[in-house]
Symmetry: C2
Subunit: 414 residues, 2 copies
């Protein structure tokens, strides 16, 4: 292994020769990530999906003039001047229900009983609501006047034929689904969801959810990454822990997927196979990043797949996912690359210290409307991220912030 040309011995033994900045790593990542192709799916499965192209409506919605009230279709002129003291008589000549077709035609002085949603009969130009009428045996009286068009939904009132109703890249909301349904779009074309193979390695790991035993710990990263991938619009594929040897890891990295996340063995030690494999069989674009935690993170390409090397320590894994892998998964799926976290600005209750030259991902709590850094002793303390309400990013050119400084917190509850 010491003769492996892709991993010089001094790098393997002495740590990273130099670390890429977060900004450079992101630029390189963004340049390599392109939106996936489309697929056509059923409308009922489309909420939250990303529209692949503009949707144009080819029909008027509604396609006919219809009543917006229960009442009587009338000629507006016949109600002119009507009040409770000056009732105007009308002759009811028929009835039209929603969904039905009306054969009747209204002449002067006539009315047709009409239900909400029913088509307006020929000759009528307004609807007199039922509460503005009195019925005495067969005689109807208007108690109020209506103007032409009153309580009538005109053709194309909701959407006119030819209108672009929704634009490409739209993340479909519930009401968008309703509009698509109303224009007859039973199927919609959306950007494909990236398939993400999760490769968890580490001989010290037991399958997720196992009771920790002896010198082994239960895998936290597999289920955490699965949830993160799903949140970002990907389809996680996580068949369990992969044996910590080169052949097994390489085979897993070649799984049919758009993205491969390798958790564990990402650094430069002799047991860290993934970077070596990626460099030898594909492209190791970035390895070693000036950030804390997760400086041993990296990424590259293998057989057209995006491969991310995530440190095994859970907080590092979360951080490297948040900075790079999640960004790529969102972009592949046509979503906004930016973090999905809501941001609030609040004053720091204590100073937050960093070192110039690296980006810090500092977990913080919100306490009494102030920001409280969460003291942690290591990147393995995943519980720091469950106690945290969010995180503050400290840029590479900053030594941190004094107490009282207003900082921007990315909230985990997005």
């Amino acid at each position: 292994m010491s003769t492996d040309p892709t991993t010089p011995a001094d790098v393997r033994m002495r740590g990273f020769a130099r670390r890429t900045t977060v900004a450079d790593a992101r630029s390189r990542l963004d340049a390599s990530v392109h939106m996936l192709t489309d697929e056509t799916i059923c409308l009922f499965e489309a909420a939250g999906r990303v529209l692949a192209s503009n949707v144009r409506c080819t029909v008027d919605v509604p396609g006919f003039a219809r009543s917006m009230m229960d009442g009587y279709a009338v000629k507006a002129a016949d109600t002119s001047g009507a009040t409770g003291y000056n009732r105007r008589p009308l002759t009811v000549v028929g009835e039209v229900l929603a969904g039905s077709t009306c054969d009747c035609r209204i002449a002067a002085g006539q009315a047709v009983r009409i239900m909400t949603g029913a088509p307006l009969p020929d000759g009528a130009d307004a609807v007199l609501p039922v509460e503005k009428t009195e019925l005495e045996s067969d005689r109807l009286f208007a108690l109020d006047e209506v103007s032409p068009g009153k309580h009538v939904g005109r053709p194309g009132e909701d959407i006119t034929a030819g209108t672009t109703v929704l634009n490409a890249r739209r993340v479909l909301r519930p009401q968008d689904i309703g509009v698509l349904s109303s224009i007859g779009a039973g199927r919609v074309t959306v950007t494909r969801r990236p398939r993400v193979r999760i490769v968890v390695t580490g001989d010290e790991l037991l399958e997720a959810g196992s009771t920790p035993e002896g010198h082994q710990i239960a895998d936290a990263n597999g289920p955490m990454l699965s949830a993160l991938v799903a949140r970002d619009g990907g389809v996680p594929v996580n068949p369990g822990i992969v044996a910590d040897d080169r052949d097994s890891i390489l085979a897993a990295m070649r799984h049919d997927a758009d993205v491969v996340l390798v958790s564990g063995g990402s650094s430069v030690g002799q047991e860290d196979h993934a970077p070596t494999l990626l460099a030898r069989h594909g492209i190791l674009a970035v390895h070693g990043i000036a950030m804390r935690p997760s400086s041993p993170a990296g990424f590259g390409m293998l057989d057209g797949r995006h491969v991310f090397l995530l440190p095994g320590n859970p907080v590092s894994c979360l951080c490297a996912y948040d900075f790079f892998a999640g960004r790529a998964i969102r972009a592949l799926g046509g979503r906004d690359r930016a973090w999905p976290y809501r941001r609030v600005t609040r004053p720091l209750r204590r100073k937050l210290v960093s070192k110039v030259g690296r980006v810090d991902y500092a977990r913080v709590g919100l306490v009494d409307d102030g920001v409280e850094p969460i003291a942690i002793s290591g990147a393995s303390v995943l519980s720091s991220t469950t106690r945290a309400d969010g995180f503050v990013v400290i840029d590479g050119d900053s030594e941190g912030f004094p107490a009282g400084a207003e900082v921007s917190v990315h909230l985990y509850d997005s």
Copy 2:
């Protein structure tokens, strides 16, 4: 039907005798909604679910002292004073890998090669990182000193046995899933997701996604409600349009579910069956609400199920769902009753008018950082909600807001 004691003829014919205020309706709703029972599910399905009870950790995580670096397990005292110019010699007596057990024991002047995650051998109290050492054939030299405990993860460092790691009502985040996995919680107990039967009625309706034809329109509410229910943590059940007659609607309202949403026929007309059925066979708690749109909305109980009467007009349907049904579905599932919409405060670009005595749900756009009311002519204009970025609620005691007033916008993109 005119002799039906539960729907007096004057109400049926003359509209609502009086309307309940939104605040009263909400109070009555809140008093009747109780969290559902629990269920136990696999950890991999638990993201976004609501924890039913506190989770206590019964083991230390990690359960043993372990190395946080690749390097050498040492007695810290043996590195005292070491620098690149004052190298301290050490004898390597073994190696310990992650997941393995170390039989070796360190005496003064000795070191054991150790990998990240591996258990610290007896006798060692610190880890000297590989980059702080030099190896000359079999002789190891420390180039730096480490203090006791350095680069060692102590037992219970992440979570100490006995700690409550997550509290009941927590909506599980990705990192929470990781923590649950690491404490051996392969299954978790969460609040059951409410099953929500969607009952879409209206003879004018074609199945969702059909091309509108003749005097029929395609159902928009079924797929929209399905998406809303899923967003709020419920499980939508929507087998399609229900025939607009009493027997069919009553049968559909008796579907095995926690919540029934009836879309259409919610008002007081002769074709509006649902309120009459609910009053006769169950409890019609509220019917007619002082709001616009969706004043004909209502709700009650039938055979222990929460039934919501949603107007057929799509915007009214969305509004009634947003004010009442969604609130109940979230609460049944153990979630925050409050709206899931993010709020921003921005100045109005034009006045926004309302009437005292009713709550208004006004769709608005955000333009150049100002709030632009969306002009609409009717509650049927669902496209107004897709053009909108969110909505402003105008309280019942307000006549609206003048141009320039700062208003709170609930953003649809939550």
